[in-house]
Amino acid sequence: MADIAIRNVVKRYGDTQVIHGISIDIAAGELIVIVGPSGCGKSTLLRMVAGLEVITEGEISIGGRVVNRLEPKDRNIAMVFQNYALYPHMSVFDNMAYGLKIAGRPKGEINERVQKAARMLELSELLDRRPRQLSGGQRQRVAMGRAIVRNPAVFLFDEPLSNLDAKLRVQMRLEIKQLQRSLATTSLYVTHDQVEAMTLADRLVVMNQGVAEQIDTPLEIYERPASTFVASFIGSPSMNFLPGEVDGDGTSIALAQGPRLRAMGQALGQHGGRSITLGVRPEHLAMVPEGEEDFHLQVGVVETLGADILVHGKLVEAGAAARQAKGEGGSGIIAARLPGSARVLEGERLPLKVASGLLHLFDPESGKRLVEV
């Protein structure tokens, strides 16, 4: 168990900069998930912590010791790779024992520790097999086993579940979380799957193009996304974005598509008159009786998920007949998540109301969060 400090870390390959100064403080025992779209530099950051990539600028310390110049083996870490990287010519036992053997531990101790890890991961029956004789899930477990037998200060995971099928992924996700909790080992976990990120993380790092856009608890990130990027990346389906303008007195918001929303709760006085991007999550739209709605949705497609339905459609102004959205008004296509019991027909016009206090305002230029409404 050790804390990790990542300070202003920059990574360049030749002239291309892929990490633009990231700082994260990780407390001992914490499980941090790094999430972001493909190519944003998640693996690169993780590999710099592991010592597999040179740190161009900045500093990484583990347990208070700067590790920039240390070899991977001297950093007291273990890593689980996306392809598991099991040694194909060794048995499961030897795969797990490899690090201990190199460290020169006595035979009895090696045996004991491997057996213990194998019991924990239900691999006891498989110790004599070769990796190619295992299923994907079993290989994944062996990779985990290899990491835990060494009892390192830090676990690093690079998309360890992405080669598994959906069901196994959910199961292994839970197992990883339980294991991490029981061992209380500081962990960095990279994924591009936002559900995995939300469910696993103590704290979440949302990365975009080599920058950490937001570092916070999953709930905080869901409730108060720092930018449109974070807002659209976390949450499924994505948050709806609608361009609009705050009225002069800051009491309501005029959407480019026409409808006008009352600003609930806080006054928007300080933003009076400025144009904004309004964010509404699909699950924060509710079907209401005709007359109470904020706007109508011209229903395009209905997707049934069982517990919920997803309604995709075009925004139209309350009461008034559907009118063309203004040129700069965006597509006005939005999604709403409604209870599974709701009966919605394609082509219908649905009266919808925005849940109060759950609106997000962003600056249309920078995409940064302005204030909660």
Binding site: P72, I77, M79, F81, A85
Partner: protein, 293 residues
């Protein structure tokens, strides 16, 4: 699943196979049969009379000290060529695998020796080590060793081994490099994280994973040393001094075409053929199981 294309009948497939069969017949089966036939005959000194002698040619060979000596020379030669060749090629391949800048040029340069004809390779090394004008002989002499492969059997052996290894290095290098590049990088990284240093990673991960390649090259190199080094030896030492570098193939040539002892030469070819069959059998048996770790 991929669909097998099949041809019906017998005649059409036969026509398709005919060129290959003809080549096999003319260049392999026929001479092999000739050798077998010759090996049980003996001709008199003037080539006027040919008599059937059964296995007498073989019996004589196995009691002939010069033939047995040639066996020993072959053993020393092929072991040295194979082991040195593999070791040097593996070393070069490991280094090429790590080179990032200019790796194209480096690899191209390493492949050139393969394009050089054996006799030319032989002559090249002959001049480099020539006791009177060779630059390498001069350097070796500078180190205090009086190099003369025209007198010393050991020097001659070292010379032909170097020339033969040099000629084969490219081939081995290419296979080793391909083998190295087929090893996932994450395995090496995992081993590095597990605490293995470069040498430990090589011995415990890289080398075992290369073993199919190594075994394949082992067989290929033994066959090479046995049969394809004729040109190199002919151009550098001509089997001398004495018989110091006369390997079995070279002896077939000297006994048959220089000394014109055709019966004995044919019998030696038959023995060599048996050795090839044995090596090929080993190779095939191996290739069938090579997917397994």
């Amino acid at each position: 699943m991929h669909k097998k294309v099949t041809f019906g009948g017998f005649a059409f497939p036969l026509v398709l196979l005919l060129p290959q069969l003809a080549i096999t017949f003319v260049f392999f089966l026929w001479p092999a049969a000739q050798a077998l036939y010759q090996s049980v005959l003996r001709q008199d000194a003037f080539g006027l009379r040919t008599t059937f002698v059964g296995l007498d040619n073989f019996a004589r060979l196995l009691n002939d000290p010069s033939y047995l000596a040639s066996f020993k020379v072959t053993l020393v030669f092929s072991t040295s060529v194979t082991l040195t060749g593999l070791a040097v090629a593996l070393l070069l391949a490991c280094m090429a695998d790590r080179v990032i800048k200019g790796s194209g040029a480096y690899k191209t340069l390493l492949i050139i020796p393969y394009a050089v004809a054996p006799a030319v390779a032989g002559v090249l090394w002959y001049f480099l080590f020539n006791p009177s004008i060779g630059i390498l002989a001069y350097l070796v002499r500078g180190l205090g060793y009086n190099w003369n492969h025209q007198i010393s059997g050991t020097d001659a052996m070292i010379l032909v081994v170097i020339a033969s290894v040099w000629k084969q290095i490219s081939y081995n290098f290419l296979f080793f490099l391909a083998g190295l590049q087929a090893i996932p990088k994450s395995l090496i990284e995992a081993a590095a994280i597990d605490g293995a240093g470069p040498w430990k990673r090589f011995t415990s991960i890289i080398f075992p994973l290369l073993s199919p390649t190594t075994f394949f090259l082992l067989v290929v190199n033994v066959v090479y040393a046995f049969f394809e080094t004729f040109g190199v030896i002919h151009a550098t030492t001509s089997g001398g001094p004495g018989q110091a570098t006369t390997i079995l193939v070279y002896k077939v040539f000297t006994d048959g075409f220089v000394a014109l002892n055709l019966g004995s030469s044919a019998a030696q070819s038959v023995i060599l053929m048996l050795i090839v069959v044995l090596l090929t059998a080993v190779q095939f048996r191996y290739i069938e199981r090579r997917v397994q770790y």
